[in-house]
């Protein structure tokens, strides 16, 4: 039985339809990768799953529990009462592109505040568990630091720990490495790989193709608010059926190459015109 089931999800912002009748299901322990050009609706899909964005139509079911209600022939979606929504939502962990750590709290407090305030775990226990989580992610030395004192990679790992602190049954990652300097991407991906290996169910929106190939059980390619193609990573990356998928992957590969230009140039591989400082460009 799938842990997550989405049926006929649609969402518009004003006149723009960003999700068109998207249906998908995720099995327990599965790692689902979502790729697609910007504006294809991947982020909105994740945000709807977490009800950060309110879907217009369709149904969402997590572990047999419906999120909101879906009524009538046109499947109009309406949210649950706030308290019920909060209770359901916390079973899904969400990792944001820009970390969104609480700026007023230390790393440890970022990880302990959820259990302490939402689950009403006694403060000492919540902090002890947070310390263990940070330790497991190799962040023990940074527990007392504020987010502003951490690197992007460390912040993102703390954010992962914060999401895990609520014992979610599903983790959503919204381009977790795209706001990071290239040299910090590795540590975050490693943390995600470890998490995947521990059996966590994950949906990851990402442009990191190596990660997708290595960790993903299934890849979905989205474009124009709909799922264009899905399959095993080897199929999608090795032998994409749709022209749109091929075009997108080609462009992604080209970009990846231009970022690696210094080494490429050294080994005599041809590339696009050199970009002077890809590192500086991608800095926040």
């Amino acid at each position: 039985m799938p842990i997550l089931r989405l049926e006929h999800l649609s969402k518009s912002f004003a006149a723009t339809q960003v999700l068109r009748d998207v249906s998908l299901s995720v099995e327990r322990g599965e790692i689902l990768i979502i790729i697609g050009p910007s504006g294809s609706g991947k982020t909105t899909l994740l945000r709807c799953l977490h009800c950060l964005e309110v879907p217009d139509r369709g149904s969402i079911e997590l572990d047999g529990v419906a999120f909101g209600t879906c009524r009538g022939a046109d499947r109009a979606w309406s949210p649950d009462p706030p308290a019920a929504m909060d209770r359901k939502r916390r079973r899904i962990g969400f990792v944001f592109q820009r970390f969104n750590l609480f700026a007023n709290l230390t790393a440890l407090d970022n990880v302990s505040i959820g259990p302490q305030r939402v689950l009403r775990v006694p403060k000492a226990d919540a902090r002890a568990r947070a310390a263990i989580l940070l330790e497991r992610l190799g962040l023990a030395a940074h527990a007392a630091k504020l987010p502003s004192q951490l690197s992007g990679g460390q912040q993102q790992r703390v954010a992962i720990a914060r999401a895990l602190s609520m014992d979610p049954v599903l983790m959503l990652f919204d381009e977790p490495t795209s706001a990071l300097d290239p040299e910090l991407v590795g540590e975050v991906l490693q943390t995600m790989k470890d998490l995947a290996r521990s059996g966590m169910t994950m949906i990851v929106v990402t442009h990191e193709l190596d990660f997708a190939r290595e960790v993903g059980d299934r890849v979905i390619f989205m474009d124009g608010g709909a799922i264009v193609e899905e399959g095993k990573p080897a199929e999608i990356f090795g032998n994409p059926k749709h022209e749109r998928t091929r075009t997108f992957l080609r462009r992604l590969l080209r970009e990846a190459q231009s970022h690696r230009l210094p080494e490429a140039a050294a080994t005599g591989v041809e590339g696009e015109a050199p970009r002077l400082s890809p590192l500086a460009e991608r800095r926040d």
Binding site: R87, F102, N104, V118, M166
Partner: protein, 217 residues
Amino acid sequence: MFDVKLIIDSMPFLLRGAAYTVQVSVLAIVFGLVLGWVLGLASVSGIAPLKAITWCYVQFIRGTPLLVQIFLIYFGLAALGISLPAFWSGVIALGLNSGGFQAEIVRAGIESIDRGQTEAARSIGMSRGQTLIFILVPQTIRRVIPPLTNELITLMKSSSLLSAIAALELTHAGQLIIARTFAAFEIYAAVALIYLVMVSVLSRCSTLLERRVFVNY
């Protein structure tokens, strides 16, 4: 020409007026801060009736002169049979007025916090209320100290309007001396100087608060 001796002789009386001004202002500041935060939080609570009430209140406070508001509390309430001493009328009028302006400062402060903070809080199951209390308000406090300081300075200076209801505050104390001595320039200069000192102390406190107490992020 410039009668320094008169100023020195008047000082005890003026300082008593200044003490009155400080007392009215401090009480009104406390009242205004509480009211300002309550109204400010109400206007971002997402509860429509609360938002509407706050909006009406702020419009009224912003749209009417403070002097009229003071008269409304002192003379207006007296006409209805609720007669308050000038001191407490002053505290209430200044507090109500300042609370309206502070509500706007608090609202703007909270709304200036990155949306991601709210989304992250909601994503771990916090309610709107918990998000406000544990995440947004702590980050807002430091951000609103400078504009709140301006507002408190305005409040302290506006207390001079209470001279119109014969409250024995600093400006009125000066007027009484001038009525006797006709030394308007010396006395008003001395009064102005005392206000300047009081305001300087207030703004120094706020700078210290900003630098020392909420320094950590």
